[in-house]
């Protein structure tokens, strides 16, 4: 199955995507269309509270589907500025618009250079086999 991976996003091999706004050093994090498809029906989303500190590569939340429980890994170190309350109430909607309304958290990154080792859309696409 072919999924969309927008070119302007950065990707982690743990299936999170990052949209970086370099001026404000605020990043928006979500999970890719591939990950959502693999998980199947998503039933539960656990996200950090606003103001929580998160660390690059560390767990910041959980996504649970009928099939599996997966940890969400933070792409950057920083502070949580916002979380998607709509999605917490209705996690099944995450698949409707993974890169838009399906965002999970916004993080104030302490060092955007932490994103240097992320994957491009093409690299991520290769990794998940198209």
């Amino acid at each position: 199955m072919a999924f969309e991976y927008p070119e302007n996003l950065k990707y982690l091999d743990s299936h999170e995507y990052v949209r970086a706004d370099e001026d404000e050093s605020v990043v928006t994090v979500g999970i890719t269309a591939f990950a959502i498809d693999q998980l199947g029906d998503i039933v539960f989303l656990e996200l950090p509270d606003i103001g929580d500190a998160v660390e690059k590569g560390e767990k910041f939340g959980t996504v649970e589907s009928v099939k599996a429980v997966e940890e969400l890994k933070s792409p950057v170190t920083g502070e949580v500025l916002a979380r998607n309350e709509v999605l917490i109430e209705a996690p099944e909607q995450i698949g409707d618009d993974p890169y838009g309304d399906g965002w999970l958290v916004k993080i104030k990154a302490s060092d955007l250079e932490e994103l240097d080792d992320t994957l491009t859309a093409d690299e991520y696409k290769d990794q998940v086999g198209g």
Binding site: G40, D41, V43, F44, T62, E64, V66, K67, V69
Partner: protein, 365 residues
């Protein structure tokens, strides 16, 4: 490892099945999606390839008498054309497998014929156990597990969908009854059994007939369904899954299967003394249904807690698609196994409230 393929493998791939390894077979886990397939079975009809299941035919003198010594159920209750869900027991009263015993010939006939359908993962183990206990008899065991196809049509519309292709009046086939018939003009065997909590039929036929029937029934509107929906459907119906809810260490009395234990009606069988003792003294744990208070799914092996102490273990859990709440089966200490008891399940380090509820979670209307 090269995976085994059922006769319907190519048809399932063609219908966009997502595949998984199950007991050495490449099996469809889902087609359109677990929720949609689940709902199709509850509302209308779904079609499952279950050709991976073990299929034995036993023929010879005294087949039922020989099987009586291996199961806690009284198989002498069976009339030809009827079936009994039961378990093979080990000497410790643990469950070697759960299975359905189908009596095909008159009981006590010179040559009795019995079909057994067993779990895929336990087919070899069961065969060894049966052959060991049939040794010295004139009973012949034929293993057709890899030769014949088995498909399961389940849901309220199952009878209406199958009837046009059957020479048998399906209305005459009651629950757990079975018969040889013709389907699409070819010989086949039909049983009114299933694993979904709905009305339905399981059909055994040669690969070509099963394939033709698969195409015919899906074209007529039966939704192709995978093992994912099979699991959520059976769990809502609180049917045990071997290897998860029941295994070699659980007895049928612990597992809520006392209805298939007929101690007063039969002579000795493997495991009898253990079940007698359990019946006299009571079991220390029981399999119960749990409903979770929030959206967390209690999964296999999660601890069950009461006032902070561990009192049991979850064996199966899912978000029940029909009920839209997380449900689970769990073994808990007998004093806490009462309907209405509040407990907790430890979900990733946190105690989440749960209540013991009646089984099944879902009952067909």
């Amino acid at each position: 490892m090269v995976l085994l393929q059922t006769p319907l493998y190519a048809a399932c791939v063609e219908q966009k099945a997502r595949l998984t390894e199950f007991a050495g077979w490449a099996m469809p886990v889902q087609f359109s999606g677990i929720r949609q397939e689940h709902q199709a079975v509850r509302d209308r009809a779904g079609l499952f390839d279950i050709s991976h299941m073990g299929k034995f035919t036993l023929t010879g003198p005294g087949v039922i008498a020989a099987l009586q010594r291996l199961v806690p159920s009284n198989l002498a209750r069976l009339q030809p054309g009827q079936a009994q869900y039961t378990v093979l027991l080990n000497p410790q009263g643990g469950i070697i497998d759960d299975l359905i015993v189908y009596l095909k010939s008159p009981l006590g006939a010179e040559t009795e014929t019995v079909a057994l359908i067993v779990n895929a993962a336990t087919t070899d183990k069961d065969k060894t156990w049966l052959l060991e206990h049939l040794a010295g008899s004139d009973i012949d065991l034929v293993d057709e597990s890899r030769d014949r196809a088995l498909i399961s049509l389940q849901g309220p519309a199952a009878a209406a969908l199958l009837q046009p292709h059957s020479s048998l009046d399906l209305g005459k086939l009651s629950r757990f009854a079975h018969a040889d018939t013709t389907l699409l003009g070819q010989p086949a065997w039909v049983a009114r059994t299933g694993y979904t909590g709905e009305d339905g039929f399981e059909v055994m036929a040669d690969p070509a007939t099963a394939l033709a029937l698969w195409h015919t029934l899906t074209a007529a509107g039966a939704a192709p369904c995978g093992l994912g929906a099979r699991d959520t459907l059976r769990l809502e119906a609180a049917m045990a899954l071997y290897g998860q809810d029941i295994d070699d260490t659980t007895s049928p009395l612990e597992a809520g299967l006392s209805w298939l234990v007929h101690l007063d009606e039969k002579d000795d069988f493997v495991g009898r003394s253990v079940l007698e003792a359990q019946k006299a003294q009571g079991v220390s744990r029981r399999l119960v249904g749990l409903a979770m208070a929030d959206r967390h799914i209690a999964r296999h092996d999660y601890p069950v807690l009461h006032q902070g102490d561990r009192v049991g273990t979850v064996t199966s859990g899912t978000l029940a698609p029909t009920l839209n709440i997380p449900i689970a089966l769990a073994y808990v200490a007998t004093p806490l196994a009462k309907v209405g008891q509040t407990l907790a399940v430890e979900v990733r380090g946190q105690a989440k409230p749960a209540t013991v509820v009646k089984r099944p979670f879902y009952r067909a209307k």
